[in-house]
Symmetry: C2
Subunit: 242 residues, 2 copies
């Protein structure tokens, strides 16, 4: 049977694609992290729910896979895009020995795109997306990526900039980026993208170092051309006026 | 009056958000590049159309701005996401002297996310998005970004990999990436994402060098962990099994 891995976007129905909604309607079971299940609950009627808490992603995918092996169609939902720090990869991994299962990945609006729209247009040109979570990635690797992406003058979007155990990670990241990017580089943060309490803030890179961020915040750092226009963070489309 | 800059996603109505559709319905004028206007024509009824050919982006934004200054609401549509090589930045730039105009950017599914879903899950982990078009960016800057992103072991997504005048750019880009990435690195291309004739192909980085690509193709290059699972391109979510 079919396994859908679905990006539901920021959360509200108005930013979910008809394709994502149709796949949920076609499924027998809706699977996902409890918070995301709550976001789609008004849309899914009385479907069977398969929910597991945070950090039990492998277990969640295995249960979905086994339900599909038993002839049920399953929609595994992810916030944002299923393919950007989402479950699309893990689902393929846990189904590696079951090539008869058909997996369909359905994209959604990821926080890089949703948050950029709130701030203006910070990611118009070449950009890098980096997660500051070192749960599954060595911190040295994250530091190297921050350093080289800054040297390359990429716009940078940071996912998972902070958590209780990693309160100073954004500060560390800013210190690395400040080796190649100017302290006055325009930056921004967006909290609760596309949800109640959505809030964007503009900073310089020097000030971003001390910004308050949490696990619901996405962070944007400009390139050498990025500027503030009428309170919005805007990266020019090219270098024609340099 | 209101200026919407709207990402319509890959093209079909099933991958456009209700928010994008609602903004078009609220607008007096639909503006955009001719090809994108044709994609949304079935959805917009008899609205006034403001279309300009390719490479007349500034003119298109100025006309939209002036219509808004004359009291009309305008929806400027972009394929994919409005904030990733889209018109959101340029619209803010041409409206810099008119802070009374309200610009709302509405995100959409960009080719990085739409194409990744076709291939499997290549962008699950940190990634860089780079355009190979040197119309507005010096080629040396593009080379530097390719080189440093490869050194940083990013997954890489390439927009605009080729055109008639730049037939060998993907080959040049692969040669740069091959300095840091292994020749057997799994890669993929997707042509006509989300449209008729959508087609994904899997390559090694060595073979990608000679792949046929055009302006409707998006290219994906894995990181050191990316592998092929049941014909799909999959980047693991972390480095736990390294």
């Amino acid at each position: 049977m079919k396994l859908y891995v679905i990006g539901i976007g920021p959360g509200g129905a108005e930013q979910m694609t008809p394709r994502a909604l149709a796949a949920m309607e076609k499924s027998d079971i809706i699977a996902g992290y409890t918070t995301y299940i709550d976001l789609v609950r008004p849309l899914i009627g009385n479907k069977e729910i398969l929910q597991t808490p945070m950090k039990q992603e492998i277990d969640r995918c295995v249960k979905a896979r086994d339900a599909a092996r038993n002839g049920r169609s399953v929609a595994m939902i992810c916030s944002g895009d299923a393919g950007v720090y989402g479950m699309a990869g893990l689902m393929h991994e846990v189904c590696a020995d079951y090539p008869e299962l058909e997996i369909e990945v359905i994209p959604g609006i990821t926080a890089a795109c949703g948050g950029a729209a709130v701030l203006g247009a910070p990611l118009i040109h070449d950009f890098a997306v980096i997660s500051l979570s070192d749960l599954l990635t060595p911190w040295e690797k994250i530091e190297k990526r921050l350093d080289l992406a800054s040297q390359a003058d990429f716009c940078i979007c940071l996912y998972n900039p902070s958590s209780r155990k990693r309160a100073d990670y954004l500060q560390k990241a800013c210190d690395i980026m400040l080796k190649s990017k100017a302290p006055e580089t325009p930056c921004g943060t967006v909290r609760n993208i596309g949800r109640d309490g959505e809030q964007g803030e503009i900073y310089t890179l020097a000030a971003l170092r001390d910004a308050k961020v949490d696990m619901f915040t996405t962070v944007f750092i400009g390139n050498s051309q990025t500027r503030i226009i009428n309170g919005k963070l805007v990266t020019p489309r090219g270098y024609e006026n340099k």
